[in-house]
């Protein structure tokens, strides 16, 4: 606690878009409550700061740090470790820090391909094939840039986190609740939640908050909105063939997207105890596919042209496999590009007598 009786607050953005910071600032006048409770000691998005200032802080000196963004490069990882050391409470804030989010989808692609796309694309004029280098010699000596890691990691894959706040970005009302709760707890007026728990979200999934009518699910077709007939505004989107991620996505957002007629894309991440968001969701979708024969099942599943994008849009980096085989292990897949045939997937049944 600072001399003025306020708690010390920090917020940091690693591999993130900055939306989480904006969401906090979106508190509008409520941000004054934040300032009442907290001294902002480090927040690169809104005020100038140097890492050296943080390094100079005693360990555990910051009372509360909201960390947004995934760990993409050595700088991200270094600051994550630094802030872990300096913070009494470290919160993985937003989808990127918790499960990788959109930047985590880069785990499908090697860094070489990523850089080629950025530095050699059709809109680039780069005759010397310049690439960022982590070390460059200049007359004054050697210059260093942070090096890119092979894959994007979530915050908890690098340091221990105390709490998690999901969402891309977290809803502003939920942020106010979280800051209110943690502020009160630091004041001794409330008990701290159980270590590791998810704050600012519900226990159930988005359907719990969605007011669309739901019935038995038997899905004979998946389609994108433009491919489907006009939707019934009062009926469950999934039952109308829209692949809505709501059933597997943690509640807390108020089901804003499905209630507005857009499918849930899963930004609030998995419900409590779920190990792998994508696996849960794909299992749920597949379970209600209304077909029993492989061909017919395949036809229906063709309505999901990008399964990884559908099931892992936000959670790939935090999932069990974390990324594609090439990125994750450095190995090249022998047949990754070849379409899987039914025979390749089923052991020949010769001699089985059916």
């Amino acid at each position: 606690m600072s001399a003025n009786g306020k708690h010390r607050f920090a917020m940091y953005w690693a591999a993130a878009c900055g939306g989480c910071d904006i969401s906090v600032i979106n508190l509008h006048e409520a941000i004054l409550d934040l300032a009442d409770h907290f001294d902002i000691v480090f927040w690169p998005a809104i005020m100038d700061a140097k890492y050296a200032d943080v390094e100079a802080m005693p360990d555990g000196w910051i009372d509360l740090t909201l960390f947004s963004g995934g760990i993409r490069n050595t700088e991200n990882a270094e600051v994550a470790r630094l802030l872990r050391r300096k913070s009494a409470t470290l919160v993985a804030f937003g989808s990127c820090a918790n499960e990788g989010c959109i930047p985590g989808l880069a785990n499908l692609t090697t860094t070489t391909d990523l850089l080629d796309t950025v530095y050699e694309g059709p809109t680039m004029d780069n005759p010397d094939h310049v690439r960022p280098a982590s070390s460059t010699m200049v007359p004054e000596g050697e210059l260093h840039l942070p090096a890119m890691n092979r894959l994007l990691q979530t915050l908890d894959q690098v340091v221990e986190v105390d709490y998690r706040v999901p969402g891309c970005p977290p809803e502003t009302e939920r942020i106010a609740e979280v800051l209110g709760l943690l502020g009160a707890a630091l004041d001794g007026k409330a008990t701290l939640p159980v270590h590791g728990s998810v704050l600012g979200a519900g226990q159930s999934t988005v359907c719990d908050e969605c007011r669309r009518d739901r019935g038995i699910k038997r899905i004979a077709q998946f389609g994108r909105l433009h491919e489907l007939p006009p939707l019934d505004p009062s009926l469950c989107l999934l039952e109308q063939s829209v692949p809505c991620n709501g059933p597997a996505t943690r509640s807390g957002c108020g089901a804003k997207c499905p209630l507005a007629g857009a499918s849930c894309i899963g930004c609030y991440g998995p419900a409590d105890g779920v190990v792998d968001f994508g696996a849960r969701l794909l299992s749920a979708f597949a379970s209600v596919v209304d077909a029993s024969e492989p061909d017919e099942i395949d036809r229906i599943l063709d309505g999901l042209p990008d399964p990884v994008g559908q099931f892992y849009r936000f959670s790939l980096a935090g999932s069990l496999l974390r990324g594609s085989r090439e990125v994750r292990t450095g190995a090249t897949s022998a047949t990754a590009s070849a379409p899987a045939t039914a025979t390749a997937r089923t052991l020949a049944t010769a001699g089985a007598g059916r």
């Binding site: 059933p247 597997a248 998995p270 749920a284 209600v288 022998a334 047949t335």
Partner: protein, 713 residues
């Protein structure tokens, strides 16, 4: 040491959330590992001491406090070892690495229970069926055994105390199939004082045995020994017959099945019919009786299949009835003394509640037409064994005279061909078990009724039953000529000059393997001893009753040796030839054995089931209704008011489909929870997990290059 309280959610009202196993989670695991030698069954291939030491050392961080090996863990002394450790070392989890859980899971659960540990806190890891018996490389087998033990240890850590589910047993039993096996099962249960519903697809009970003349090897008359049983079953106060009926639907579970039975119309009122037989006598339509008379006799359009039929009522065959074809005739209706004929009768469905089921659905005989070289269906005087049975039966179409197809000529020479459709890669690999004895019975009957010379063409004579071989010797002594060789062909085409005199007869081409020469034997009659096959709808019936059958269609036993009359589905038993070919005594024995199993349960009034069930955490259920259509047992319901899904534990069978489908992770399973399985996977792969990076890197390089070659640019 406390083992914690059993989970109350199991037997609780539907939808009640599972209490978290906080006590158990808080309690540090103290796990005992016991590695069985099973004599040399395991120890011959797996280095048991190495597994023991590995578990003690590597699994200590996972809670293993003691690791032992023992020659026979299932012995009393082995079990006492576990009990002693539970008491003295305060073990709260037990892992036994031995045989399949289907063999000894109950044994070791019992040991835990005796020592005061909840029996479900034990885990049996199969290192015999899955390791020592299927592998030869001792190093690899030992490593696999270690991995499987690690899986068991990590899995059992996540296990929570459970109590078995107790279900009440309805004392009524359904017996499907009214052959001798079904009749035996029905009588055993009915005589013990409990109700039985006996369903038979044919108009009469009796099955194939009612078609036979004599039974081997004693030669007692089939009808003489069967009809008293049929009559007793038909008049037993505890037996309800449903003949000319079929089971159309089965739902529910052990102790409480709901069965729908379709009564096909007999077109008469059985309350009025006296069985006088006038309708049958007056009916103007005569058709070949392909069922009871095996196609060698006739019946009327309204008929009683045989005089001793039970029940006594005839049945009208609308496909051959003039009234159903043209709307006129009605001779039966006009002439029936009690006016019992009901030509407008409709099928009727009845619903039965039963606690257990016996499937005694029997067999079909192999269709001899499929063996084209034997000429059945093409050559008039080639008969099947069933045709011969009817012919030799005193009440059969020929009055017991053995004659050629013309109905008058007695054969001078008869050849009996064994293994038709059996022991033959083209048809059925298995031995039909009864054909050798049946064939020799035929030889005896031919000799008894005629002066014919009889040839038996066999591959091997299989006569292992009581007094069977003596019968073989007797038939030999009677002068039957035995030729060891598989018949190649039966033909009416004469090829050799010396066959000229045999015009109109049949030639049996067979290699006499004992004499070492081909023979062409001229005969008047050939009897094909056809094998037994499962009923044509065996797979469909198995599905209806929720059991499994082999690819051929024979019912699969729960254990082929130790539980030969139970099926994989609790409460469904099987008897007789539904399980595979067998003779009358073993059919009777199997019916009685199934009945004994059921009677034990009825008298207990309830039975304990594995507490493997799905439970919904209502707090976490979002009411998305993904799972609502996934349960074939109707255990899943949706509470509209609370907008949550519920699982009825009494209906849940524990398959776990809904658990795997729940996108919110709100459904959990006892006995096979996510945590248990995930930790088991971790354990099994513990030794292959994060491995030596240098080795992986060394392997990665060639793979990459090989892949580059494999994929064309």
């Amino acid at each position: 040491m406390s083992t914690g309280d059993p989970i109350p959610g199991i037997a609780a009202e539907p939808g009640r959330p599972l209490d978290p196993p906080v006590d158990e989670a808080a309690e540090a695991p103290r796990i005992g590992v016991y590695v069985c030698h099973c004599g040399t069954n395991i120890a011959g291939t797996v280095d048991v001491a190495a597994v023991r030491d590995w578990a003690a050392e590597r699994l200590a961080p996972h809670g293993v406090v003691v690791s032992r090996d023992y020659p026979f863990m299932c012995s009393s002394l082995g079990q006492e070892l576990i009990e002693q450790d539970i008491r003295e070392l305060g073990l709260n989890r037990v892992v036994v690495a031995a045989c399949s859980p289907h063999m000894h899971e109950k044994t070791f659960r019992g040991a835990c229970q005796r020592a005061g540990l909840n029996p479900y806190l034990s885990e049996l890891v199969s290192i015999r069926e899955q390791v020592s018996w299927v592998h030869t490389d001792k190093v690899a087998a030992t490593a696999k055994a270690e991995a499987m033990v690690a899986g068991g240890v990590l899995r059992v850590r996540e296990q929570v105390p459970l109590e078995p589910l107790r279900v009440p047993i309805n004392e009524a039993t359904l017996v499907v199939g009214g052959g001798i096996a079904g009749i035996s099962a029905a009588l055993e249960i009915a005589d013990a004082g409990f109700p039985v519903h006996l369903v038979e697809r044919q108009p009469s009970i009796g099955g194939h045995m009612a078609q036979f003349d004599k039974t081997f090897p004693t030669l007692d008359c089939a009808a003489c020994i069967l009809t008293p049983k049929m009559v007793t079953a038909g008049s037993h106060p505890n037996i309800t017959l449903h003949t000319w009926s079929e089971v159309t639907d089965v739902s529910g579970y052990v102790g409480n099945f709901t069965v729908k039975v379709l009564h096909r119309p007999r077109y008469l009122d059985t309350d009025l019919c006296t069985g006088c037989g006038i309708c049958q006598e007056k009916c103007p339509v005569k058709v070949v009786d392909a069922a009871y008379e095996a196609g060698v006799g006739y019946r009327k359009a309204i008929y009683r299949p045989f005089p001793q039929a039970v029940p006594k009522f005839p049945v009208l065959d609308p496909d051959n009835c003039i009234y159903f074809e043209r709307g006129t005739c009605k001779a039966c209706e006009k002439l029936c003394p009690p006016a019992a004929i009901r030509l407008d009768q409709q099928p009727e469905e009845v619903t039965l509640q039963v606690g257990n089921i016996v499937l005694a659905t029997g067999f079909e005989t192999f269709d001899a037409r499929r063996v084209e070289p034997y000429g059945y269906g093409r050559l008039a005087n080639v008969f099947t064994s069933l045709e011969f049975e009817r012919m030799s039966n005193a009440s059969g179409p020929t009055g017991g005279r053995i004659v050629l197809r013309d109905g008058v000529t007695e054969p001078q020479t008869v050849a009996i061909v064994h293994c038709v459709g059996s022991r033959d890669r083209n048809f059925n690999n298995y031995c039909s078990a009864i054909c050798c004895m049946q064939s020799m019975k035929f030889a005896h009957l031919v000799r008894e009724h005629t002066d014919a010379t009889v040839y038996e063409c066999y591959i091997d004579i299989r006569a292992p039953g009581k007094a069977f071989d003596e019968f073989y010797q007797r038939v030999q002594d009677e002068g039957t000529i035995f030729i060891r060789g598989r018949v190649a062909e039966v033909t009416d085409v004469l090829r050799l000059p010396e066959e000229a005199a045999e015009d109109g007869r049949l030639i049996v081409q067979v290699e006499d393997t004992l004499a070492g020469r081909q023979r062409r034997i001229a005969v008047d009659m050939v009897v094909l001893s056809v094998g037994l096959e499962p009923q044509g709808d065996a797979h469909e019936v198995a599905r209806r009753f929720g059991i499994t059958c082999s690819s051929e269609g024979w019912v699969i036993e729960r254990h082929p040796k130790l539980d030969p009359f139970a099926t994989m589905t609790e409460g469904v038993f099987a008897a007789g030839c539904a399980l595979g070919p067998r003779d009358i005594p073993s059919s009777v024995a199997s019916g009685a054995a199934a009945a004994a199993r059921i009677l034990g349960r009825i008298q207990q009034r309830e039975m304990a089931l594995e507490p493997i069930r799905a439970i919904v955490d209502a707090e976490r259920c979002s009411g998305c209704r993904i799972c609502n259509d996934l349960c074939p047992f109707s255990a899943i319901t949706f509470d509209d008011a609370r907008a949550v899904t519920e699982v009825n534990p009494a209906l849940c069978q524990g398959c776990g489909v809904c658990i795997a489908a729940c996108p919110a992770g709100a459904i959990q399973g006892t006995g096979f929870s996510d945590a248990q399985i995930l930790r088991q996977i971790e354990g099994i792969l513990m030794t292959t997990g994060p491995a030596d990076p240098a080795v992986a890197a060394a392997h990665a390089a060639p793979v990459g290059s090989a892949a580059a070659e494999a994929v064309p640019a």
